[in-house]
Symmetry: D3
Subunit: 161 residues, 6 copies
């Protein structure tokens, strides 16, 4: 098992500047990072899996981040990890945060797959308020999201309205 | 810009005794207070915008509160503030509270409109448990909400069942 | 009023090993414990009231717990308590927990029915992550829930997929 | 082992109206309640063990509470429980509270003595802010504590200044 | 009673950039702001009352803030408010914060003096980590605090070592 | 800069089973881990720096953990990191935890040294209650700490009483 590989799973609906911040930090720690889009048919997303993966790839490129793979998976995260032979999971923590939820998920994942190790990284304080759902809410109400998300997302959201 | 003006935004679906408590406190601090009902077509409310505004006006009257205007707005709060030339926002904090959510919203609003200042007031400890959604839940299950909401709301909820 | 009677209300959709842990603890404290399934028609549950009651009875039996009654109720918990002449309510607290929500409900119940006393018990630390909704999520995504729930639930969930 | 016996341990330095509220609630649940004053020589208290026990006895009397024993112990709570053949511990939770600390202690006690069961009761919302240390602070700064503590404590604090 | 007057109480041992941020925000809301240094002989401070007041005055001047008075008081905050005929108290909230403590104090103050109104303002997210005690700790360990505190404080701390 | 190096700083007064759990997890992620004992003369510790380092080395050996160096430092953590050319810091998070404190420290460290990256790992749920100060408290009150700390610590604490 290669300790330099890690997975950053999420809905990324859409990717925000806060996610980009975590990807940079995780990429610095682990040479081989995979951003893994959750493809859960029972959970309705605003953007399709394909769109979300496109926006991640594009914004990673725009941000000049190298060595990051973008993938997607169905089913449980722990099954995806087992199949791809990985066990390090990256999660971002925000100062204003759903910490309890993250802890619950990490403990559950550890129960389901003992080898998993969740690594929590702290976003920059300036992204403390940022979440995908808040970005969608601001966009839906006609707000300008250009300071919240990568360029490609800002464009995409505009078109969709 | 007139510093004695402030806006207390919310869904008020319906207004509760906890909201009335905050309106009294905010009205004491700011001579010119506007209670601003969020009119968000994509969010389903139990009461119509018109009903919610009527119940606010009526219960403010019943409580003997003077100098409060009731308004409504569509779109982002920050856009409403810009249009009406205001920048002070009132939010209530409960001892048992969604503090994290309030902080996230306040930081996001500050990011979208730098001039905004969110003023948090603390409800009386005796309203610590009170929320509009809990009031609706109690009413739906056949409970008596007369000790939780202004008279006009208690009547209205009864009729709707 | 008999002080040795207590009610443990919940959706139990489905019952988990964490619930069983609380039932054991509550049964030790109160000789006469009722597990009361909330039968709220407006809230969509995964399992029917009948199925949920069956699984509770069966798993209590499997766990060798004696002297526990399984019941269900519609409407407000406080009305159920009044009708059955009870006033002690059991709630479980998890280390990773919705403590604020529990407190809000307990205060609201106390407001609606002054005689009510909510008794909080702490689940074993090893169930800190466990909730019915997380169990359903894991099952839906094809995960193995046998280490999370009683045998009867594990079987039932498998069949339903 | 008699399930109707419970211990409410604490420093009670001094006893407050919030403690009295919990004693009433616990006394309603358990016929045989012991208020157990922690007598820890290495922790400096404002009042002596004797004074703290006197004030508890006196204020329980003033409040008309029956069937409560006042005791004290040195060393670990779990050792006191073992010696006296008890295993139910009462702790009060305040809406504005050191919940994390209480949980940590309860888990540690369970680790040291598996049979222990900590029962958390919720104080009245109107005592949410109340603690012995805050009472001492108010008294030291010349404030009137008569609305915060039983009569006997208010008198005693006055004398000590 | 003049509603445009407010008090911002604290130890300010020493004043930090986070305090300056709150003073600016409070000064914008209330034309007549008093920064009130707590002079509590039983609590050992690093800087004397005189030094703390000097540093506040100097850094307010450096920051170009007008219309702010610096005062000090002994005893209870509520007694100081009564004596000076004021009832609005400013407190800063940090995203990473002792929110529970602030709430407890605000509720206690309201209990001791019904007319008091505590107004919570949110510091800039970039000061989320900042506290006087952390500044003292960094300084004691030989760190550079120039990015954390006003110029005058940075100089003073250097001299004292 | 070698990305496989990380530092786990702390007082370790004394090292607990929870610390050992984090050291194992961190050692799995980073090939080259340094446990760095904070040697702060102004903070009184129960064990000397020498004793703390000895107990760490000994218990790491007992636990069969390889490739971990034990070091100590005076002054700021960020200065120690700069001097030794490192920038990855390990911190453990407990389900029942001082999360706010950890976040504050991590943000402050990032402010003082931009290159620092704090990696939070989650202890096993079964260590949720464990802290060095609680271990010392239990030992002082005559409790048995053998289930809480490595063998060498249990012996040492016994001798010191």
């Amino acid at each position: 098992m290669n300790k330099t590989r890690a997975v950053y799973p999420g809905s990324f609906d859409p990717i925000t500047n806060g996610h980009i911040d975590i990807i940079k930090r995780a990429g610095f720690l682990f040479g081989n990072l995979t951003v893994a889009v959750i493809d859960n048919p029972s959970k309705k997303c605003y953007f399709s899996k394909k769109e979300r993966m496109f926006m991640i790839r594009k914004s990673i490129g725009e941000a000049g981040i190298k060595g990051v793979t973008v993938d997607s998976f169905r089913g449980l995260l722990v099954d995806y990890l087992r199949k791809t032979g990985q066990n390090i999971v990256i999660r971002g923590l925000r100062a204003v945060s759903d910490f309890d939820y993250e802890f619950q998920m990490a403990l559950m994942n550890r129960k389901l797959y003992g080898k998993i190790e969740t690594v929590f990284l702290m976003t920059d304080a300036k992204f403390a308020y940022l979440s995908s759902s808040l970005v969608r809410e601001v966009a839906r109400l006609g707000g300008d999201v250009r300071c919240l998300v990568p360029k490609v997302v800002a464009k995409k959201i505009k078109k969709l309205k």
